[in-house]
């Protein structure tokens, strides 16, 4: 995505060049080129750059698609994460998902006995897979500033190979929150909960990002 910004200036340069545009933001789609007129209008000198309208082209991802975690949020998440037993919390989160939202079992026909709550809670494949998923969350916590990048490959995998409805990512995120709450009652303050909710939402969105 290209962004065309115009810098406001009090008066145009002599010798033609500036665009008679006020401070505005024009979004161009991928692949569309700036016209020859634009290239001609690039400032030819430092002075000209200071004194005339000229288009600045920035080609990069728009920053506002990124989730920003504050220092406090990152610290809260990290402090709780340090105490998390990944196998226990991961296994229980996945088990609860399969119990409370039984249609999610559709992805796990190969896991054997999922016929009762106790069977699911005790199922070794559920525990192993829960641990795998929560380890991935650990990776998220180390890359909280670029979740979309971190989860790009996993997102493609879940879409193209696993065919998982992204709603499941939201449901599992909520299961993780509930298990954390039951395990860490005193430490799971409202602020802690809010930070983790933001993280699980962001991970779910990052995993959905490559769906097509």
């Amino acid at each position: 995505m290209s962004i065309l910004l115009t810098h406001p200036c009090p008066s145009p340069t002599p010798g033609g060049g500036p665009l008679p545009l006020t401070n505005s933001l024009i979004l161009l789609g991928e692949g569309r080129t700036l016209g020859q007129e634009m290239r001609n209008k690039r400032p030819h000198s430092e002075e000209a750059a200071q004194t005339c309208f000229w288009p600045i082209r920035i080609t990069s991802k728009l920053p506002d698609t990124m989730v920003h975690f504050t220092t406090e949020e990152k610290a809260a998440v990290a402090s709780l994460w340090a105490k998390v037993n990944v196998e226990v919390v991961g296994g229980e989160s996945l088990a609860r998902l399969l119990i409370v939202y039984p249609w999610t079992q559709r992805f796990f026909d190969s896991f054997g006995n999922l016929y009762s709550e106790s069977a699911i809670m005790g199922n070794p494949k559920v525990k192993a897979h829960g641990r795998k998923v929560l380890n991935s969350f650990g990776n998220a916590i180390e890359h909280m500033d670029d979740l979309k990048g971190t989860f790009a490959d996993l997102s493609e995998l879940h879409c193209d190979k696993l065919h998982v409805d992204p709603e499941n990512f939201r449901l599992l995120g909520n299961m993780i929150l509930i298990v954390l709450a039951t395990h860490f009652s005193k430490e799971f303050t409202p602020q802690m909960q809010a930070a983790w909710q933001k993280l699980t939402n962001a991970v779910a969105n990052a995993l959905t990002h490559k769906y097509h």
Binding site: Y101, W103, T104, Q105, H163, V164, D165, E167, L171
Partner: protein
Amino acid sequence: MVLSAADKGNVKAAWGKVGGHAAEYGAEALERMFLSFPTTKTYFPHFDLSHGSAQVKGHGAKVAAALTKAVEHLDDLPGALSELSDLHAHKLRVDPVNFKVSSRAGPGQIWASGAENAAAPPPSPRPPDVPSLGSF
């Protein structure tokens, strides 16, 4: 959500205009759903989803037939649709978010897509009350 008598009348009138084209509309609704809400494709990895696919046409006809049955039983939708509900819940195991009409993230998109179809069917005039279709 309860359908008023006026809603029911509107739905019947709108669906009546579909005439014999229900299967086509069903197929188009599915195609629109897959395009606008790509996550719904995760439930059809075994389908050819390209334009004009025979599988989509066949499935669209099934969906349209179910809608026709629903329109004939507006006074008892839960009863009329109970088998389909069981099928989607227990056998197909589709996440219910896909049945919500107004949710931004989740479909019910087949309904939204269907409403778009009904709003712009080639031969017939625009149905009188698309919000009723939304409730339906």
